[in-house]
C-alpha cells in the first residue's frame, strides 16, 4: 500500500497525470520509492514513524521532490553534467586516491560549457580534499604554441601530449599530479578521468 492511497479520491497526493495534473508537471518531479522507515527519517512530521507496530515490509512511499530547474530551462549538456556532479566528483576523487600517489593534486576540467567546467573543477577539488589529499588551486599553464598544437588533436591524444609538455615546461613537477576530467564528446554525459604524473598520462576511467 502506498502513501498516496489515502488521498486517492481527492486526486491530490498522487503525482500521476490526470484530472488536476499535467504530464509536464510530472516531469518536474524527482520521485523515488522508499520504505516506511526511510521516508519517516527523511520527512519527519509528514510521514508517521511505524513505531510500536509491526512494520509491514510491503509498505512503501513514493516520495517526490520538485526539481529546482524545469526540464529544458538549462542547456541539456549542462543539465546532464550538473545533475550528477556530486557523483562524478566523488568517483573522480576516489579514482585519484586509488592511484596511491602522494602528490599535490591539481585539477583540470575540459567541458563544452566553461561555467560547467568551472563548477566541475570546484566539485572535484572539494572531493579530493574530502578524500584527504593535498590539493592546489594553481592551474598549470601551457604556452600559446603548445595550446595551438594541442587544440588540433582529439582529446584522447591531446591530454597525453599536454601531460608531457607540462612536465617539460615545469608546469608540473615531480611533487605534482594532475587529475583531468574530460568530456570526450559534446554528446556524452559520462566524463572520463585521467591522471598526469611524471610526464605520463593514464586514463583511470
Amino acid at each position: 500500500m502506498t502513501l498516496w492511497l489515502l488521498a486517492a479520491p481527492l486526486a491530490a497526493a498522487d503525482p500521476m497525470p490526470g484530472l488536476v495534473r499535467s504530464r509536464d508537471a510530472l516531469r518536474r518531479l524527482d520521485c523515488e520509492r522508499l520504505s516506511a522507515w526511510d521516508a519517516a527519517d527523511r520527512y519527519p512530521g509528514r510521514v508517521p514513524r511505524p513505531e510500536g507496530r509491526e512494520v509491514d515490509p510491503d509498505r512503501t512511499y513514493v516520495v517526490c521532490a520538485d526539481r529546482l530547474f524545469a526540464p529544458g530551462f538549462r542547456d541539456p549538456g549542462a543539465e546532464a553534467a550538473l545533475w550528477g556532479m556530486s557523483d562524478t566528483a566523488a568517483s573522480a576523487a576516489a579514482a585519484a586516491r586509488a592511484t596511491g600517489l602522494a602528490r599535490i593534486w591539481h585539477v583540470e576540467v575540459f567541458h563544452a560549457s566553461s561555467p560547467v567546467a568551472a563548477k566541475l573543477g570546484f566539485a572535484v577539488k572539494a572531493a579530493l580534499v574530502a578524500e584527504g589529499l593535498a590539493v592546489s588551486d594553481r592551474a598549470p599553464r601551457l604556452g600559446p604554441d603548445d595550446l595551438d598544437v594541442l587544440l588540433r588533436l582529439e582529446p584522447l591524444r591531446a591530454y597525453p601530449a599536454a601531460c608531457a609538455r607540462w612536465a617539460a615546461t615545469g608546469g608540473l613537477s615531480g611533487e605534482d599530479a594532475l587529475l583531468g576530467v574530460v568530456q570526450l564528446d559534446r554528446r556524452a554525459t559520462a566524463l572520463q578521468v585521467g591522471v598526469c604524473a611524471d610526464g605520463g598520462w593514464t586514463w583511470l576511467r
Partner: protein, 230 residues
C-alpha cells in the same frame, strides 16, 4: 419499486462490465528514466563505429516473446543511429554481423523485473459500489537493468531505470480524462490512449541511447589506455 431496483442493478452491472474496457494508463518515471539526455536518438551517425549485440534476457514478467519484441525494437533503435546490431535472448548471438568488424564491439544486456505491485481491494469495492464512477486501480513499479560490456567482457556501464505504471479502471476516470483530452489538452499531453506507452518508450530509448553512447566512449578510452606509450 422492484422495477426501479432492477433497472439500477442493470445499469450498475453494465457500468461495471464497461469498466473493464474503460482503462486509463499513466506512467511516471522514477529513478533514471528522466535523467537529462544529450545524444539525439534519431541522429544516424552516433554509433557508426560500433558493432552492438543486444541481449534481452527473459525473466520475471518478461517472457521470451516479449523479450524478442523488445530486442527487435531496441535493435532497430541502434541501427537507426548507425550501429551494426545483432540480437539474442541472453546467449551468444546466432550469427556475427556481416562485413569487417568495426573498431568498437559492445554487448548490451537488458533485464526487466517488477519491484512493487498493488491493487487495493478497497478501490475495487468503491468502483463496484459507485457503478465505476470511482475508479479502481492497479499500479506496479518496474526496473529495467541495463549492462554494457566490451567485447572482452569488461563492464563499461550499468544502469537501472525505474518507472511506475498505473491503470485506472472505471468509466468515471476514462470519461473525464477523455473529455479533457478532447477539449483542453494538446495532443502531445493526452492521457487516454497510447500516451503513456509512447512517453515510456521515448524515455527508455533515450536513456538506452545515452548509456550505449557513453559506453562506446569508455571503450575507446580503454582501448587507448591499452595502446602504447605513456
Amino acid at each position: 419499486m422492484p422495477r426501479r431496483l432492477s433497472c439500477c442493478v442493470r445499469i450498475g452491472l453494465a457500468s461495471i462490465a464497461a469498466a473493464g474496457g474503460c482503462v486509463v494508463h499513466t506512467y511516471q518515471p522514477l529513478a533514471g528514466l528522466h535523467r537529462p539526455v544529450v545524444v539525439d536518438p534519431t541522429a544516424p551517425d552516433n554509433l557508426s563505429d560500433l558493432d552492438l549485440t543486444v541481449a534481452c534476457v527473459p525473466g520475471g514478467k518478461l517472457g521470451p516473446s516479449e523479450a524478442g519484441v523488445l530486442c527487435r525494437q531496441v535493435g532497430r533503435l541502434f541501427e537507426n543511429q548507425g550501429a551494426r546490431v545483432v540480437t539474442t535472448l541472453g546467449g551468444p548471438p546466432d550469427e556475427a554481423p556481416a562485413g569487417d568488424p568495426r573498431p568498437i564491439a559492445l554487448r548490451l544486456e537488458l533485464r526487466s523485473r517488477q519491484i512493487h505491485e498493488a491493487s487495493p481491494a478497497l478501490g475495487w469495492a468503491a468502483m463496484i459500489a459507485s457503478f465505476s464512477l470511482v475508479p479502481a486501480l492497479t499500479e506496479f513499479t518496474f526496473a529495467q537493468d541495463v549492462v554494457v560490456r566490451s567485447a572482452s567482457g569488461a563492464l563499461l556501464a550499468t544502469e537501472t531505470l525505474e518507472g511506475r505504471i498505473t491503470h485506472w479502471f472505471g468509466f468515471g476516470a476514462w470519461a473525464s480524462n477523455q473529455l479533457l483530452d478532447w477539449t483542453v489538452r494538446p495532443e502531445a499531453h493526452e492521457v487516454v490512449g497510447g500516451g503513456a506507452d509512447r512517453v515510456l518508450s521515448q524515455d527508455l530509448y533515450r536513456q538506452l541511447s545515452q548509456v550505449v553512447f557513453d559506453a562506446k566512449l569508455q571503450a575507446r578510452v580503454l582501448a587507448a589506455e591499452r595502446g602504447p606509450a605513456r
